[in-house]
């Protein structure tokens, strides 16, 4: 334990989302006995964001991550509706928007990310989806809307397209890239998802750029005008790294941390959407998934408590659109090495490196049909795998776990 423990200022965590809360619990569960304070700028108690794009019939489901009772049992102090405004690294003090301040022995920045906004004229009028307020605003507007334009054909854009189409709206997705889901879904599966959207009546326009937004719709750069009474911008997120940058920490598309999630300052860690993590020599990666927020939060929490845990969990994500479930794990860029077809449209793509070790997998099928194989793949990442076995639907992949 560091000598600073005697100061008893404790651990301060900026950000009360999935990552910050998991970190607080992980630090406590690792045996940390000092004060733990979590500061979050949203008014609501910490809640899960994934359900925001998947409302049920009665609207957005607010799913709390934890409860005041559990926080109390774990002696985790939560300050809601408060943001951090400055960090004095010499004094080890964080200034807060309510005028208060918090001393820290160790500080975690779990500040997350915010939606990128459209830069075209009128673009700031487009709805974004990040918070529960955003979600409520979108579904309230959808009640009275007939036509919606969604700018951005990524996962959030297409999940919203599926949801709003199911509610009977006319939906057009406008994507600047050559295909939807171009950033993180293998082309073969993205093509199938796009076909499903088409079948459901969603129009997806690719390779188009928007010139302006008005309250009547969206004007494209090629001169076309798409009428809409609801415009949603789903064009990715930018990490909330300004606070870190202003205190002199290295920041570039996120707060730079080593593989133990430590910043340049050994008393300050960063994790989740806001953190750009050293993956290997000279290679830094930032992830935006729910599971990453959890996994990095756990690593950061244990390290805040004095541990020396490395972050090396393969990134995993899922997406539900209509009755289809997509899941991916690890590195699924490039062309798949093996395709495992399980019938009824269920298929898993496996990505192997030059020596036959598994680096990633992605699958698409009805409901949770791909879940088991993706979980097995997650455990096989880094192991050499038999491509013939992978491709044989009669083979239970679980056998490979004992062999690996």
């Amino acid at each position: 334990m560091s000598s600073s423990k005697s100061r008893m200022a404790g651990i301060v965590i900026i950000g009360a989302g999935e990552c910050g809360i998991r970190a607080a619990f992980a630090a406590r569960d690792a045996g940390y006995e000092g004060a733990i304070t979590v500061v979050g700028d949203e008014q609501a108690l910490p809640y899960e964001r994934p359900p925001l794009s998947k409302p049920d019939a009665s609207g957005v489901v607010e799913k709390p991550i934890t409860s005041p009772e559990i926080l109390s049992v774990k002696a985790i102090h939560l300050k809601c509706g408060v943001s951090a405004t400055a960090i004095d690294r010499n004094a080890q003090v964080v200034s807060l928007s309510d005028g208060g301040s918090l001393s820290y022995d160790k500080l975690l920045l779990a500040t997350g990310a915010r939606p990128r906004t459209l830069t075209c004229p009128g673009g700031d009028g487009a709805q974004v989806l990040r918070t529960i307020e955003d979600a409520n605003a979108i579904y309230a507007a959808a009640e009275n809307a007939t036509k919606v334009v969604i700018v951005g054909g990524g996962l959030i854009g297409l999940e919203l397209a599926a949801e709003l189409r199911t509610r009977g709206l006319q939906v057009t997705v406008v994507e600047a890239g050559p295909r939807p889901l171009g950033r993180n879904v293998p082309e073969r599966l993205a093509t199938r998802l796009a076909a499903k959207h088409h079948e459901e009546g969603v129009s997806i326009l690719c390779g188009v750029h928007i010139a302006s937004c008005t309250d009547r719709g969206v004007e494209l750069e090629d001169g076309r005008f798409l009428q809409a009474d609801l415009v949603i911008a789903a064009v990715g997120v930018v990490p909330n790294d300004a606070l870190a940058g202003s205190t002199g920490l290295t920041v570039e598309n996120g707060i730079w941390v080593d593989d133990q999630l430590m910043t340049d300052d050994p008393l300050i860690y960063a994790a989740g959407d806001c953190a750009t993590v050293r993956a290997s020599e000279g290679i830094y990666r930032r992830y935006e998934t729910w599971q990453n927020a959890q996994a990095q939060g756990e690593v950061a929490g244990r390290n805040l408590a004095g541990g020396d845990v490395r972050f090396d969990v393969p990134v995993w994500f899922w997406s539900d659109q209509y009755d289809l479930g997509l899941q991916g794990v690890g590195d699924t860029s490039g062309n798949p090495t093996v395709i495992r077809a399980l019938g009824d449209g269920v298929e898993i793509l496996f990505f192997l490196d030059g020596v036959g070790a598994l680096v990633g997998a992605a699958g698409l099928g009805r409901g949770n049909a791909v879940a088991k194989d993706i979980k097995i793949a997650q455990r096989l990442i880094g192991a050499r795998v038999d491509a013939v076995l992978l491709s044989d639907p009669a083979q239970n992949l679980k056998k490979m776990l004992t062999a690996a």
Partner: protein, 103 residues
């Protein structure tokens, strides 16, 4: 009143795996452990009511197919976030090649 229900044959379930079992308007999961023991829990994950039938069984742990919450299926104990509420469990007995659950 709970009663013993003939749920399935022992070899309907692979070793270290589970099947779904529906009875009336209730749904359950029946597990066969790596040591050839049988267990029964509620079918739906306590996190978001996703059925555990597509989940992965490893040793004595079932991992939810959707959000990776884990339970010990012998006791129903929630083992990993995001789950924090335990699963209900039900007595199981094997007679011959049949699996009975008391539900």
């Amino acid at each position: 009143m709970a009663e013993w229900i003939d749920a399935c044959a022992t070899n309907d379930i692979d070793e270290e795996d589970l099947i779904r079992f529906d009875h009336g308007d209730r749904t359950f999961a029946i597990y066969r452990s790596p040591n050839d023991e049988f267990f029964c829990t509620d079918g739906l994950c306590t996190h978001e009511q996703v059925h555990l039938e597509d989940g992965l069984v490893m040793d004595y742990v079932i991992e939810c197919p959707k959000h990776n919450g884990q339970f010990d299926y012998r006791t129903g104990e929630a083992k990993r976030a995001p789950v924090c509420v335990n699963l209900g469990t039900y007595p199981v007995k094997v007679e011959g090649d049949r699996v009975f659950v008391e539900i």
